[in-house]
């Protein structure tokens, strides 16, 4: 089951897209997808952490003793998450206010640890980089797609660059259930169902 280098990247976009195919990392998926902007912000932050930690774990894979590998991965991941948190506070404070606690929670996101453990610790640096990038972009796209569905149905707007754009016309009655927490589960379930229908062979 050796994959080509291109496949390492593209598998994250469809075959192994985290929230829908692996159904992993659902905490941020459900919590921050109230608006497209939050979804993209969270996705980019996670992608950065994924890529950096994948590369570093792969670089150090021969140095890290097997018995303390999880502790080492967590140190690496937590470092990059804190970097993201500090940089986001300094340069994108409004976004930081909206994502709040979910940024530090990337540390315990099982996608990141999962990629380190399952992929980067066994593969070379370049492949790990592509893997992290692919999974990260897949994660970002899934978050944005889910957020777009929820925001569109829930408010009738799409927020891009902090400006809500009216998409569904003034007569649209917002379906505010969709931006509430239960709406996240419903939207995720429906999208999973749709993806399985499309992916069925």
């Amino acid at each position: 089951m050796a994959r080509s280098i291109v496949q390492e990247f593209t598998k994250g976009l469809w075959d192994e897209v985290p929230p829908f195919r692996l159904v992993l990392g659902l905490c941020p998926v459900l919590a921050v997808t109230k608006s497209v902007e939050n979804g993209i912000g969270m996705g980019v932050a996670t992608t950065f952490v994924l890529v950096c930690s994948n590369v570093l774990v792969s670089m150090l894979r021969k140095v890290i003793p097997a018995k303390v590998r999880i502790a080492c991965y967590i140190v690496i991941i937590a470092t990059f998450v804190t970097v993201v948190e500090l940089v986001m506070q300094a340069y994108a404070y409004p976004l930081f206010l909206k994502l709040g606690i979910f940024i530090p929670l990337i540390v315990v996101n099982c996608i990141v640890l999962g990629r380190s453990e399952a992929f980067a610790s066994k593969n070379g640096i370049f492949r790990s980089l592509l893997d992290g990038l692919g999974i990260g972009i897949g994660f970002t796209l899934s978050l944005s797609a889910l957020a777009a569905v929820r925001e569109l149905l829930g408010t009738g707007d799409l927020t891009i660059w902090e400006k809500p754009i009216r998409v569904l016309g003034p007569s649209f009655q917002p379906f505010s259930f969709m931006v509430e927490a239960p709406g996240a589960f419903v939207a995720l379930g429906l999208m999973l169902c749709l993806m399985n229908l499309v992916g069925k062979k």
Binding site: V63, I64, P65, K67, V68, A71, C72, V75, I76, A78, T79, T82, V83, L86, V87, Q89, A90, Y91, Y93, P94, L97
Partner: protein, 196 residues
């Protein structure tokens, strides 16, 4: 035994490097983060109180110790004179502390205005203190000589309907601010001269 030592060494080196990297990044972003917090959390209240100021109140800030508490004061320069100062106090609201920025017009001994910064009040009720400008507008131009109160307590402020506790919290925060101002008036006057 050798494996044990290797584990110790690897983890120690990793944690040390991580600590060093984070300390460096923190050092480089600290000032910017502080500015961003002021700008986005307290900035809107400060700017609405000090409307028409020709300086940047957030950049022109200084700290003074009042009763062992370090407080930050923001200066507003109006018509070429540093005639207004705002600082933050808080009152006990329904959902916790309500942070209030209070502006004082030094020259006319009036309240310049107040504005809610942080709160956890009920949306649509107490939260109106922040979202509905007509409530805080009542504080404008009140004399700093006497305490402010809601009408139910014998004062002149009309409470937000359904949110008496929040309204009282804001009055008490304002009164605290007036007391603090009385205490540090001389020090403050000296400090303000520096901004001419």
């Amino acid at each position: 035994m050798r494996e044990m030592i290797k584990m110790l060494i690897v983890l120690t080196i990793l944690a040390t490097l991580s600590g060093g990297l984070l300390a460096a990044i923190r050092d480089n972003t600290k000032d910017r983060i502080e500015n961003q917090v002021l700008e986005f959390v307290k900035g809107p209240a400060i700017r609405s109180i000090l409307e028409g100021a020709t300086n940047d109140p957030i950049a022109d800030r200084f700290q003074l110790k009042v009763d062992d508490v370090e407080r930050t004061f923001f200066v507003g320069v109006m018509n070429g004179e540093p005639g207004a100062v705002t600082f933050e106090t808080s009152g006990k609201g329904y959902g916790g502390d309500v942070g209030l920025m209070v502006g004082i017009d030094v020259k006319n001994s009036q309240i310049m205005g107040v504005g809610v910064t942080t709160h956890a009040e009920t949306p649509g009720m107490g939260a109106k203190a922040k979202t509905d400008p007509s409530f805080v507008a009542q504080f404008r131009k009140l004399s700093i000589g006497e305490p402010v109160n809601v009408t139910g307590d014998g004062g002149s402020i009309n409470a937000i309907s359904g949110a008496t506790i929040t309204s009282r919290a804001i009055c008490s925060a304002t009164n605290d601010a007036l007391k603090i101002y009385e205490k540090i008036k001389p020090q403050l006057a000296d400090k303000l001269k520096e901004f001419k």
